[in-house]
């Protein structure tokens, strides 16, 4: 397989199989580096990418793209023109791609809707992607890279969720079915992408489907499918055919619709919803689910509306009943509760006060107490009656001595009757046999009748008698009271019937007593009758049959046996024992409880008796009960596990019931727990206080067991109903695809949904999550991220609503980025401020943006780089900043050992770096990142000088994630391309510089010359001026200075040709005049050459003889050793190519010894608003002043002295020569060479015009210096090529000699070789200044002496 495809085995193989020869891209062997790089990045990335390259935008993609987007078009699409691959969306993406290629700017599109045909049909898809430009090796835009992530699922899920959310929003204002349907219709209509149109049908009373609501389509549309027969309970998909159907939000009408029943709990559906389906999406599980949920919402709305209507009707019916009940219960509360309270309260006080006092009083108080309790028991009679009415009371018959029992009961009334001034006659002889009765019931019968007698009798007597008659026991209770009118008699035993206007001891009475008696007696299969005469009295006669034949056998208990009371009735027995005489047997209402109502109940009461009582009572009803002693314990227990109901006393030590309720309500976790408060404090104000605190119900003591149980049951049911809503809410929240959270005022997260757990890894078991939340980044490892999250948290707490994006840490440790939106709301239950918010995982988007940013900033750095070194250094610095790395280094394996190293830390050397890693990386495939867990990461790429390995050292044990690796690969690829480009530019610039230097002038000047050149146009190194020195075969030197018209590149090219021509001509014929004439002819043919000015001379350096001719050029300047000056203004004539046929003049000049010649172009002297002569005078002065300055320094001095304030604005060429040129000799360190050296030096001194005595002195000094050097050379024979250099140069008034050897200096030891010490003495004697410098490389003797001018 070709290397370029190596990064991915599978896609790479298919890419390799493409017939590239037939594409414009051509065979991979011929691909440019930039394309190879791009393909490598593409294949090695796990992010979905594709790219297009070349004139036809040939298509490439990687495995992720194939999987996510390309689908069935793979591998067909590889190597094809992108226009063909994405023909169906080319209108959307084509302009974007061309924009990238035209401008070089990347694009960024979020959630762009595209119709892809990857699954055989045009599919609605959403993509977030960027197109980045790709450049070839020359930097030209030739393609683009697309990094894409598909957002289809998210976008569609959000859209559907919005519809479901809208459907479920605020249904409380909806009243009627039609309003419900209209509301639902408005919500459905807003999502015309998923629901192009809908039809809602409901069955009428005859079971016929009627269209009741439509969206997106008229109700009478002719193409609607016939659905009148649809009655099934199953959803199904039907085909639509009708070109005229509405299209919804799409260009074409839907082809299918889904019919979903509107289900009703436990009954036939209400109807069905027909939802036309989006033809651009598959009808998958999620789509079906969405429509079913939408239908569920519609059905729930209908259910709500109908149930509301039904309730409305029932409420009206019940209102009538309620009025009767209200009358009844207002009587009850007044008739029973008031006297009972007034009796029992003072009585308790009396009993306390008389404890240990008069036993008789105590006895009587006990009597009163007992009766008070009995009265309380009578209150229960009412309940008994209602139970009787409902047929729920079961009697338990036992044989008793009815006479004795009745007499005993009657005795209870004795004191009352006698206190009323009545005679009380009890005549109860023993009966022949026992009678089967239920003691409790019999008690009620007798007490009721006696009470009645007493109530209506004002004088006379009350008589109780028992006798046997006709197989039955007959009990009569007679009075001498007011009697009953005959017309009232038929209704005497009717319940609630009271005889109006009858005179009685009290107006009190419920009208239930006689009715109860009749019922109770009836249970015994007995009879009760009354005979009465007004103002005479009334006789009630009760007949109870003997024997047991008339009674159900299972209800008869053995005589004398204790009453077999089921354990469930135990609490009632206890209650009775506390309030009633000990021999009383309570009723057993156990049968009234239903096991299905069993609930978890928490009891809180500080009174142990009360607590035990409540426990027994509630357990008897099948509830699971736990009990605690105060509010604090209750709160703890509830927080540990919320019960179905809390039954709490109000008054408790520590934390009262009211405090408990408000503590529960203020905590969202417990706000919904129902509470039933028990209070001894009766009264409206107390109950309002309790309800305001948030209690669900309120019960006063004393209360009956049945009442308590009923309230418990009602509250549990209510709570369950309420919890049903809560469960629905939880399910809805959980179904959100975005992570959802609720945060309280302190910043604690108190509720989350399933998506939250999935995204962040923290589940509801850890709630509440107090700040700092466990998903915040570690402040130690990543302080910056931590600060970012802390700032966002501040925003969350203090702004009403907002959005932010933060990094978070998943429970398993991996990092992700989430976009949060939040809103402050008031919790309707608790009234407290809470914050609800959502998280969306934007990790991919975040990294896509990070990639773009990093690429952009790397590109910027690379664009600023002037050479390879700059480019690498800039890129490394960029990488270091991006990853906050300790350092980043690059090693280029260019064949040298160690390899060339560059690093962000300049002190780093090869010895400090992880060599093993770098060497291992060197042989890895290109652009494939390698990471070493927490140490750092490396990657290999191509550098023009060899393989380059980049290593990012992270140092502080930080992970290098997969995203980081992709980014590194992308950046490295970019860098590789840039290096290749910079390298090319580098080479081009080098070439250009070399060419310019070649145009300008000779690289090597003959001795004695100095030049300066300053082009006017930067960055060019040449302009229209030039200078030249041409060594001629006869030892003479041609010297030329010229100036073409203009400056810049144009002038430079002309100049180059003139210079070369002049050089060639002079070599041919050393006459300056003829050379210029030849140049005239040459320039006439060369555009732009005309009017150039040239000074051309031929100098004999041996004697300073100069022949010259000038073509319109300013005159050279000569300064003599004594400071006199002269302008070489002979031999002048017109500029080049002006009248080329005419002859040119020539002049000669002999340069005196130590005179200085300055040649220049007018850029040196020409100034605006100043005659040329003034500039020339300045130049003359500069050379005159500098005649004692060595020639090279003088060149600099002249340029500086004449430079205008803003620098030269024209080309300047300057050439200096001093006669004679310096003497430069190099000779072996042998004494035999001394004589020829002396001869040469002697000749040069002569040319310098030095007098013989001074010359002899200089010769001696130089000779001693050379002799010294030879001695050093001889001493180091083993040292290769001991040689000596001598240089002698003159200025106007001084000679300067340098003798240098490469031997070792010898410290003078006069005793050993006395004449050598004498040599140094001679040097110092004959030369003004002698400096001897000794170093490892040898010895330099520097000598100067002044010359008399």
């Amino acid at each position: 397989m070709n290397d370029v495809f190596a990064a991915d085995a599978e896609v790479g193989r298919d890419l390799a199989a493409v017939d590239w020869e037939s594409t414009p891209v051509g065979s991979p062997e011929g691909w440019p580096q930039s394309l190879r790089t791009a393909v490598s990045i593409l294949l090695s990335s796990r992010f979905s990418m594709w790219m297009a390259w070349g004139p036809e935008l040939t298509f490439f993609c990687n495995d992720a793209y194939r999987r996510d987007t390309l689908g069935g078009k793979y591998p067909w699409a590889l190597g094809r023109p992108a226009r063909e691959v994405w023909a169906e969306i080319w209108n959307d993406i084509g302009p974007r791609i061309h924009n990238v290629l035209d401008t070089g700017h990347a694009t960024w599109d979020e959630d762009l809707l595209l119709f892809l045909e990857r699954s055989g049909y045009p599919e609605e898809t959403y993509h977030t992607f960027s197109y980045s430009p790709l450049r070839d090796d020359d930097g030209a835009l030739v393609g683009m890279l697309c990094v894409v992530s598909e957002e289809t699922d998210r976008v569609i899920a959000e859209r559907r969720m919005a519809t479901l959310r809208d459907l479920g929003s605020d249904p409380s204002v909806i009243r009627t079915e039609q309003e419900t349907l209209a509301f639902a219709g408005r919500q459905l209509e807003r999502n015309r992408r998923d629901l192009p149109f809908t039809v809602t049908c409901l069955y009428d009373e005859d079971g016929q489907a009627q269209v009741r609501a439509v969206t997106g389509i008229p109700a009478d549309h002719p193409d609607l499918p016939d659905l009148s027969g649809f009655a099934g309970g199953e959803a199904r998909v039907v085909t639509l055919d009708g070109p005229g159907l509405p299209t919804g939000a799409w260009p074409d009408p839907p082809r299918e619709a889904m019919v979903v029943p509107l289900l009703r709990q436990g009954d036939a559906p209400y109807g069905f919803l027909v939802a036309a389906l989006n033809r651009y999406r598959p009808v998958d599980e999620s789509y079906r689910g969405f429509i079913e949920l939408a239908a569920g919402h519609v059905a729930a709305g209908i259910a709500g509306a109908r149930s509301y209507q039904a309730q409305q009707r029932r409420a009206e019916e019940l209102a009538e009943l309620d009025r009767a009940k209200t009358t009844f219960f207002s009587n009850i509360s007044h008739e029973f509760r008031t006297p009972l309270t007034l009796i029992m309260g003072p009585l308790d006080e009396l009993r306390t006060r008389f404890t240990g006092g008069d036993p008789q009083i105590m006895d009587e108080l006990e009597v009163i107490h007992r009766n008070g309790l009995r009265l309380g028991k009578l209150v229960n009679a009412l309940l008994d009656f209602s139970r009787l009415e409902a047929g729920r009371m079961r009697a338990r018959y036992e044989p008793v001595d009815l006479s004795a029992t009745t007499a005993e009961l009657a005795s209870v009334f004795r004191s009352a009757v006698e206190r009323a001034g009545l005679a009380f006659e009890v005549n109860c002889p023993p009966l022949p046999e026992p009678v089967l009765i239920d003691r409790g019931m019999w008690e009620k019968v007798v007490l009721n009748l006696l009470s009645n007698a007493l109530k209506f009798t004002f004088d006379g007597s009350v008589r109780v008698a028992v006798h046997a008659e006709d197989g039955a026991a007959v009990v009569t209770i007679a009075d001498t009271g007011v009697g009953i009118a005959s017309e009232e008699m038929p209704r005497l035993f009717e319940r609630f019937h009271r005889i109006d206007n009858a005179r009685s001891r009290s107006n009190e009475g419920s009208g239930i007593g006689l009715a109860l008696v009749k019922e109770l007696v009836g249970l015994h299969h007995g009879t009760v009758d009354a005979e009465s005469s007004p103002n005479k009295g009334t006789v009630f006669t009760v007949r109870l049959p003997f024997g047991s034949a008339h009674l159900p056998a299972d209800a008869v208990v053995a005589p004398g046996a204790p009453a077999a009371i089921p354990s469930s009735a135990e609490p009632f027995l206890q209650e009775a024992n506390r309030w009633l005489p000990g021999d009383d047997v309570p009723d057993t209402p156990a049968g009234t409880q239903v096991a299905g109502d069993a609930a978890d109940v928490l009891v809180a009461d500080d009174n142990a008796d009360m607590r035990d009582y409540l426990i027994r009572l509630l357990r008897s009803a099948g509830h699971r009960v736990t009990a605690v002693g105060d509010g604090r314990q209750a709160l703890d227990a509830i927080r540990a596990g919320a019960p179905d109901l809390v039954v709490s006393d109000v008054m408790m030590p520590g934390m009262t019931g009211l405090e408990l309720v408000s503590a529960l309500r203020s905590d969202t976790r417990t706000a919904g727990v129902p509470v039933l408060l028990l209070s001894a404090r009766a009264g409206e104000e107390a109950s309002i206080e309790g309800l305001e605190a948030g209690a669900d119900d309120y019960l006063f003591k004393p209360f009956t067991a049945a009442e308590l149980l009923a309230r418990v049951r009602a509250n549990v049911e209510l709570a369950r109903l309420r919890n049903h809503h809560a469960r629905w809410r939880t399910a809805l929240v959980d179904s959100l695809q975005e992570a959802f959270f609720v945060c309280d005022e302190d910043g604690s997260i108190v509720e989350i949904n399933a998506a939250f757990t999935e995204m962040i890894g923290f589940g509801p078991e850890g709630l509440p999550y107090a700040p700092v939340h466990p998903w915040w980044p570690d402040p130690a490892a990543d302080g910056e991220a931590y600060a970012e999250v802390a700032a966002a948290f501040e925003q969350l707490m203090h702004h009403q609503h907002g959005d932010y994006t933060i990094p978070v840490r998943h429970r398993d440790g991996h990092h992700l980025w989430v976009a949060a939106s939040f809103n402050h709301v008031r919790d309707p239950d608790s009234g407290r401020r809470v914050i609800v918010g959502t998280f969306r995982d934007v990790t991919d988007e975040h990294y896509a943006i990070q990639r773009e940013t990093a690429l952009a900033s790397l590109s910027l750095r690379l664009s600023e780089a002037e050479n390879l070194g700059d480019a690498v250094a800039g890129a490394l610095d960029e990488l270091r900043q991006l990853w906050q790395a300790t350092y980043v280094l690059a090693a280029v394996f260019d064949g040298a050992t160690p390899p060339a190293l560059s690093a962000t830390d300049p002190n780093l050397s090869w010895a400090d770096v992880p060599q093993d890693r770098l060497l291992a990386l060197k042989d890895r495939p290109l652009l494939t990142p390698v990471t070493e867990r927490t140490a750092g990461a490396g990657i290999t790429l191509e550098h023009p000088r060899g393989t380059m390995v980049v290593w990012v050292e992270l140092g502080q044990r930080r992970p290098f994630t997969e995203q980081d690796q992709t980014l590194l690969a992308l950046l490295a690829g970019h860098l590789g391309q840039a290096l290749s480009r910079v390298h090319q530019i580098d080479e081009q610039r080098e070439t250009a510089l070399a060419l310019q230097r070649a145009i300008l002038g000779p690289a090597q000047l003959p001795a004695g010359f100095a030049v300066r050149y300053e082009p006017a146009t930067r960055p060019l190194k040449v302009g229209g001026d030039w200078y030249d020195t041409i060594p001629l075969p006869d030892g003479r030197i041609g010297i030329v200075v010229g100036d073409c018209v203009g400056h810049g590149l144009q002038a430079a090219t002309v100049m180059g040709q003139l210079r070369s021509a002049c050089r060639a001509v002079l070599l041919q014929d050393s006459s300056p005049a003829r050379a210029l004439a030849a140049l005239d002819r040459f320039a006439a043919l060369l555009p732009g050459a005309s009017c150039a000015t040239v000074f051309c001379g031929v100098l004999d350096p041996a004697n300073g003889h100069l022949r010259y001719s000038a073509a319109g050029h300013p005159p050279p300047i000569v300064t003599h050793a004594d400071g006199t000056t002269q302008l070489l203004d002979q031999g002048r004539s017109r500029p080049i190519a002006i009248r080329p046929e005419e002859q040119r003049q020539e002049a000669t000049y002999d340069m005196p010894p130590r005179s200085t010649l300055l040649l220049y172009t007018d850029g040196l002297v020409e100034r605006r608003r100043q005659p040329l002569t003034e500039g020339i005078d300045q130049a003359v002065a500069a050379v005159q002043l500098g005649r004692r300055t060595p020639i090279e320094d003088l060149a600099t001095e002249v340029m500086e002295r004449l430079a205008p304030a803003g620098g030269y604005d024209d080309d300047v060429a300057l050439l200096l020569y001093r006669q004679p040129g310096p003497l430069e000799l190099e000779f072996p360190a042998e004494s035999s060479r001394l004589a020829p050296v002396r001869t040469a030096l002697r000749g040069w001194l002569e040319r310098c015009g030095i007098d013989p005595v001074t010359a002899q002195n200089v010769l001696v000094a130089a000779g001693e210096a050379c002799a010294n050097a030879i001695e050093h050379g001889h001493r180091d024979r083993d040292r290769a090529g001991g040689s000596i250099k001598l240089r002698a140069a003159a200025t106007a008034e001084a000679l300067h000699l340098i003798i240098a050897d490469n031997g070792r200096w010898r410290v003078p030891r006069p005793g050993e070789n006395p004449h050598r010490g004498r040599g140094i003495m001679l040097m110092r004697a004959f030369m003004g200044e002698v400096t001897i410098t000794t170093g490892a490389a040898g010895t330099i003797i520097d000598m100067q002496t002044r010359i008399a001018s």
């Binding site: 004494s1231 035999s1232 001394l1234 004589a1235 002396r1238 013989p1252 005595v1253 002899q1256 002195n1257 010769l1259 001696v1260 000779g1263 001693e1264 002799a1267 030879i1270 006395p1314 004449h1315 050598r1316 004498r1318 040599g1319 003495m1321 001679l1322 004697a1325 004959f1326």
Partner: protein
């Protein structure tokens, strides 16, 4: 190859021994000069006349030979070498006559 130097021994009109040098004396031929000097100096009472009039160059190696025999010689020289002989101090030790 050594520097060109001609050494001639003779007597002047007074019969005194004379060594006439012509050419240049430097370290390459100073030994020859030294040897000739030693040979020319006899036990006679009169000093050896060393005629350097025709010597164009004399370096410290040549001077060393002259210094060695300073008390037995008389030096005759031209204007070229006389500053050297003065500066070197030879003129203080022996008779130097300038022509």
């Amino acid at each position: 190859m050594t520097t060109a130097l001609t050494l001639t021994t003779g007597q002047d009109q007074d019969g005194a021994p004379v060594l006439v040098a012509a050419g240049e004396i430097d370290m390459s031929n100073a030994e020859r000069f030294t040897a000739a000097l030693s040979e020319a100096i006899t036990d006679r009472r009169e000093p050896l006349v060393v005629d350097l009039t025709a010597v164009e160059y004399l370096d410290s190696a040549g001077l060393a030979a002259l210094f060695h025999h300073a008390d037995r010689i008389e030096v005759v020289t031209g204007p070229l070498l006389s500053p050297l002989l003065a500066v070197s101090g030879l003129a203080d030790l022996t008779t130097v006559r300038t022509r």
